[in-house]
């Protein structure tokens, strides 16, 4: 050292300040260049881009079909009696929200529809229904089910029993004194499809982030361009930040596709757009950071794609997509809490539909996600050390 650290020329502080400013600009310049390069590379890989966008939409369709199949049983009603009680029993069946009803002329016609697979149940209201109900005599309503599986058969059975109690509550309130008085936690009813679709936004972000950032990082290792990047005099955090921002920007395309699907097709209008978009950005950052770690560890695009495709669906389903995960077993609850997807789903449900689906507040969920982000960013910088590059 030529000069003592304590002694400075009077103009030095101003000079250092200028250098610091220039250093910051250079840092931002590197971030910007890495970001630009990532976006340009990603846009050239159209197949990967297509896969990233189409996968979350596939999951959405899967869940919609799953929900549609269980909503209401297509049922034929054979009205052998057209009296007022028979008509009111039919109305009670409609009010039970368990059936898609179709009145048919004869039992033979209904049975052939059942055999063809057009309906799953036949309800026969017998010819003496009104007379016997009016006199308080026992009467049997026929139920012929296509018992494809126990779950759906049970739903049909319970739906019909609900119709029986509804009928008595309306027609003979004195006879059935026990009634169910239901108080609901939320003032609005949410169908199963919107409920599931809101969570699919998180899988869109997860798949987009993991695939995009993971493949981008792995591509640098596969093509050995990582060596040039790390040997350049650019600071490592600037490279990591630029790559992550680039991957994040591209991965938002898949999130955008899912959000558009949610708003335009499913017709969900988030109750808090600010919080919703904040969640999207936070979850995107977490997924991108996780993808960067994955890509730098695996270093092969095919393996990254394989692992992303294999892990995203189980992670998503283990994180409480169908109902709050706390309704499940203790093991699943513990497992779900180990991954950021669970907190992402809780946050997005909170801001999109106003539902609390885990025991944490929105701020706590966001904080946990921010911690995941910090851990993944730190891990990304760690796995990108120069010493890890082989020659």
């Amino acid at each position: 050292m030529l000069f003592d650290d304590k002694w400075r020329y009077p103009w030095e502080p101003a000079l250092h300040a200028q250098e610091r400013g220039a250093g910051l600009l250079a840092f931002l310049d590197i971030v910007y260049e890495c970001l630009r390069k990532e976006i340009a590379s990603a846009l050239q890989e159209r197949v990967a881009l297509f896969q990233m966008i189409i996968l979350p939409l596939n999951y959405n369709v899967l869940l919609i079909l799953f929900a549609l199949a269980g909503s209401a049983a297509p049922t034929a009603v054979v009205m052998q009696d057209r009296g007022p009680y028979a008509q009111r029993f039919y109305d009670a069946m409609r009010a039970s929200s368990s059936f898609r009803l179709k009145v048919v002329g004869s039992e033979a016609e209904a049975n052939s529809m059942l055999q063809r697979g057009d309906i799953v149940a036949v309800v026969t209201i017998p010819a003496d229904f009104d007379r016997k109900v009016g006199r308080g005599q026992p009467v049997q309503v026929g139920l012929f089910t296509n018992n494809l599986n126990t779950d759906f058969t049970d739903d049909v059975n319970r739906g019909l029993r609900l119709a029986v109690t509804l009928f008595y509550q309306r027609e003979f309130p004195g006879r059935v004194s026990i009634v169910a008085q239901v108080r609901e936690a939320y003032g609005h009813e949410t169908d199963y499809i919107p409920y599931l679709s809101v969570s699919v936004v998180i899988i869109g972000l997860l798949v987009g982030g993991l695939l995009q950032a993971g493949n981008a990082a792995a591509r640098d290792w596969e093509l050995s361009t990582i060596k040039e990047l790390l040997l350049s005099p650019a600071p490592r955090p600037a490279i990591v930040m630029g790559k992550m921002l680039g991957a994040g920007a591209v991965s938002l395309l898949s999130a955008l596709a899912v959000i558009l699907f949610l708003v335009l097709v499913i017709r969900v209008w988030p109750v808090d757009w600010g919080g919703f978009l904040g969640t999207v950005l936070l979850m995107s950052a977490v997924s991108v950071a996780a993808g960067t770690v994955l890509g730098n560890l695996l270093r092969q695009r095919q393996t990254v794609t394989l692992l992303t495709r294999g892990s995203s669906v189980p992670l998503f389903l283990l994180s409480g997509v169908f109902n709050p995960i706390t309704y499940s077993t203790v093991g699943l609850v513990v497992l779900a809490r180990l991954f950021p997807v669970h907190y992402g789903i809780a946050l997005v449900q909170w801001f999109a539909l106003g539902f609390r689906t885990n025991s944490l507040s929105a701020a706590d969920n966001a904080l946990v996600l921010a911690c995941f982000l910090l851990v993944f960013v730190a891990l990304s910088s760690l796995v990108l050390r120069r010493g890890h590059v082989t020659h």
Binding site: V61, D151, S177, Q181, V182, T190, R309, T326, Y327
Partner: protein, 390 residues
């Protein structure tokens, strides 16, 4: 002119070569197996999700009727019931450990004995309609169960039920069968499409097409290789399912089950060959294969019951050959039935024949060499040498 190799030799040689290459691609095999495995998890978790949710039952009345109704709520088997105090129930509800609190209030038994209105109070976390419908159906279920146990039930209307099929099938078990078809489709599609596309990427297709063997033999050999690989995967999962009692056909229905697997494998193999010959890029066909097989699976009612779907979806499903494969498997495995067997076989075999013809057309030497000549022109032809001043 040298005599060409025999049809069978060319076919077998192509099949052997494609099988050897396929077996070397362990990552491809793994890719194709991971997706159906995750969908089996979807089915398992889904069946748990639509199964029994947790509720808290609070019985504040000490009368005999209240006790009977409480027992009826438990016996209705819709929920996992925790019988707790009001305070505990509220704590469980607040930390989302239960989805609803069912309360039988004080004075309940007395009200019933005096024929007064006796409400059962239900507080429910109505996050979605599916859960709420379960709650709405379950309490009346318990009420009818209770009244049904009385010697002089006031509910004179009863339900006389009969089933179409002799056997009841669990939801998870029901969903595993279509997943066998998904696995067969994914494996068949990926194996055959990537195998065919690779020939185009590595330009080995040129040598194959210039060989003195019949084009039909080559395409057939490729179909046979994919079919064998796919059938092996299908048989493996069938054996696992059989061992775990998920898929347990009996008597002659073992044969129809195996026939269904073989036909779905044939269909997947021919779709894959056609796709590979038309698209000619490994990465593209891999993405199209996985995405396409999932769509075929969804549209065939893979994760639900096709009869429960809206009419337009059922109409779409009727054009999806996998619908017939799944139907054939379900009839054989669950219901010991030959219902619509001929139609199922005909559709799967017919679709495979059509796709085989498409593959043959896509492999026409004129089309192939013309395309490659055009590709050469783009790379090294006049466009490429223009800069050099030619």
């Amino acid at each position: 002119m040298q005599r060409g190799v025999s049809f069978v030799d060319a076919c077998l040689a192509t099949a052997r070569k494609d099988l050897v290459i396929y077996l070397r691609q362990w990552k491809t095999i793994l890719t194709s197996l991971i997706m159906p495995a995750t969908y089996i998890m979807v089915a398992l978790l889904g069946s748990i999700a639509v199964g029994r949710n947790p509720v808290a039952l609070v019985v504040q009345d000490r009368g005999a009727v209240a006790e009977q109704v409480a027992r009826a709520v438990v016996a209705s088997d819709v929920f996992r019931v925790s019988r707790v105090s009001a305070g505990q129930a509220q704590a469980l509800y607040d930390r989302l450990a239960v989805g609803a609190i069912i309360t039988i209030p004080p004075g309940f038994s007395q009200a019933i004995e005096q024929h007064r209105r006796a409400p059962i109070l239900v507080m429910a976390n109505n996050l979605n309609l599916d859960f709420m419908n379960d709650v709405r159906r379950s309490v009346p279920d318990a009420i009818t169960f209770y009244y049904g146990s009385l010697p002089n039930s006031p509910l004179t209307i009863t339900v006389k039920q009969r089933n179409l099929r002799p056997r009841d099938v669990d939801l998870f078990q029901y969903e595993v069968v279509p997943l066998v078809s998904l696995l067969v489709t994914v494996v068949g599609l990926i194996a055959s499409s990537s195998g065919a596309a690779r020939e185009f990427e590595f330009l080995s297709i040129k040598e194959i097409m210039l060989a003195p063997s019949h084009r039909v033999a080559i395409v057939l050999g490729k179909v046979v290789a994919s079919w064998v690989a796919t059938c092996c995967s299908g048989l493996l999962i069938f054996a696992v399912g059989y061992a775990l009692d998920w898929t347990h056909p009996e008597g002659p229905f073992v044969a129809t089950t195996l026939l269904a697997i073989a036909l779905v494998a044939l269909f997947a193999a021919t779709v894959g060959i056609a796709l590979g010959c038309l698209v000619r890029r490994v990465q593209s066909v891999n993405v199209l294969s996985t995405t396409g097989s999932v769509w075929l699976f969804f549209l065939a009612g893979g994760l639900g019951i096709i009869q429960f779907e809206p009419v337009f979806l059922r109409q779409v499903a009727s054009f999806d050959p996998l619908t017939y494969g799944i139907h054939m498997l379900q009839m054989s495995i669950f219901y010991n039935s030959f219902d619509r067997l001929a139609l199922d076989v005909l559709v799967l075999a017919g679709a495979s024949a059509v796709l085989f013809a498409v593959s043959l057309a896509a492999m026409r030497p004129g089309l192939l060499l013309g395309k490659q000549a055009r590709a050469r022109g783009r790379v090294g032809g006049p466009v490429a040498v223009k800069g050099g001043g030619a």
